[in-house]
Symmetry: C2
Subunit: 190 residues, 2 copies
C-alpha cells in the first residue's frame, strides 16, 4: 500500500534493528484518513470472504480494525488486555507472551459476542513474532469460530510471526512488509 509505505518512510523512526516507532500516525497519534484507507485496502484484499466479525486486541489494533469493520459492515471486537469492570463472566481467554516486552498478557473476549457461526478477520497493527495474533486464534478456536484471514498494517518479515501463522493455513495480508531495519534504514520487500 503506497500511501502507507510513504508515511512509514517519512514519519517512522527506527529505534533499533528490530523496533520501528510509528507513534506519530498509527499507535499513539493516529491519522484517521490513513486508517480509513487501510480499512478500504483490507476490504479489497478480503472482499471474496463473507466476514461476520473483525477481531483485534487493544489498543493499537482498534483504529485499523474499526475502519476495516466499517468497510465490511460488521462489528469489531477488541480483546481486552486489562481487566474491565463489566467484562467478568463467560470469558474466553488466551495467555500471550510478549518477546519484546518480556511479559505475559491475558487476552480476554466475552463469549457473548462470538460463536461457531462467526467468520472472523483478525486485524492488528504489527506482525512481528505473532504472539497477539496467535492468542486471538486461540480465543476464536475456543468457540469454533472460523478465521478467514489475518490482516496486518505492518509486517516485520525478519521476525518469526509469519512462519508461525502460516502453519494455520490461513491467508495473511500485510500492507507494508519490512525486511530490515538495519543501520537505521527501513527496507521494504515486494
Amino acid at each position: 500500500m503506497e500511501l502507507l509505505k510513504k508515511t512509514i518512510l517519512e514519519k517512522g523512526i527506527v529505534l533499533s534493528d528490530s523496533i520501528l516507532k510509528v507513534d506519530s500516525f498509527i499507535n499513539h497519534q493516529v491519522n484517521p484518513v490513513l486508517m480509513r484507507e487501510i480499512g478500504k485496502e483490507f476490504k479489497k484484499l478480503f472482499s471474496h470472504v463473507k466476514i461476520t466479525k473483525v477481531l483485534t486486541a487493544e489498543s493499537s489494533g482498534i483504529a485499523p480494525a474499526l475502519m476495516t469493520a466499517l468497510e465490511f459492515g460488521v462489528d469489531l471486537i477488541f480483546a481486552r488486555k486489562r481487566q474491565s469492570l463489566t467484562l467478568k463472566d463467560d470469558l474466553l481467554t488466551a495467555e500471550v507472551f510478549s518477546f519484546t516486552k518480556q511479559e505475559v498478557t491475558t487476552l480476554t473476549v466475552s463469549r457473548q459476542h462470538i460463536d461457531r457461526s462467526d467468520v472472523v478477520l483478525l486485524i492488528d497493527d504489527f506482525l512481528a513474532n505473532g504472539e497477539v495474533a496467535g492468542g486471538l486464534v486461540k480465543v476464536s478456536e475456543q468457540v469454533g469460530a472460523k478465521i478467514a484471514g489475518f490482516g496486518f498494517v505492518i509486517e516485520k518479515t525478519f521476525q518469526k510471526g509469519r512462519a508461525m501463522l502460516e502453519k494455520t493455513g490461513i491467508a495473511i495480508e500485510s500492507l507494508a512488509r519490512i525486511s530490515s531495519l538495519a543501520n537505521g534504514k527501513i527496507t521494504f520487500i515486494d
Copy 2:
C-alpha cells in the same frame, strides 16, 4: 442523539445502580456505523471551533475519538495507560484515580504530538466521575494547549464528573445523558 439512546435501551445492561454495561456496541464489541454517526454528531456540536487535535485515553475512547477526528480532518492522540515500548522519552503524564476500579492509572502522552498551538477536543466513552477527563486536561495544560470542549458518548448525570469539569468553564457535550440506573431501569434526561 436518538440512534444512540435507542441502542442503549435495546442493548445496554444495567449491572448496578451506577454501572451500565455497553460492551456489545461501545467498549468491547464496537458498532462502527454507530461510531461514525457519533463522530458526525460531535462534529456538528463543535463545528464552530477550529479543532487541531482530538485527545482521548485508551482503549474505549479510541473508536468514537477516531471517527470524530476523521470528521474534523485532524489527528487523534490516545493517551496510554499501559507502558509502551516506543513511548519512553519526552512524556507528559497525569495520575488518575479511578473510583470504580479503586486504582491509580498513569495517563501518558508524548510531548512530540501536542503543543501550545493546539486546540484540543477531548472525547471519551463515559463521563462518570470525570477522572480520565481531568487527567487529559492536566496533560494538555502541561504544554499550554487550549481545550475547546469535552465530548462524551454517555454521561451518568448522577455522578460528579460534570460538576467537576464545569469548573473549567469548558463546553461539555454528552450524546446520551442518563439520570438514573435505579431498579435496573435506564432513565435519560434532556
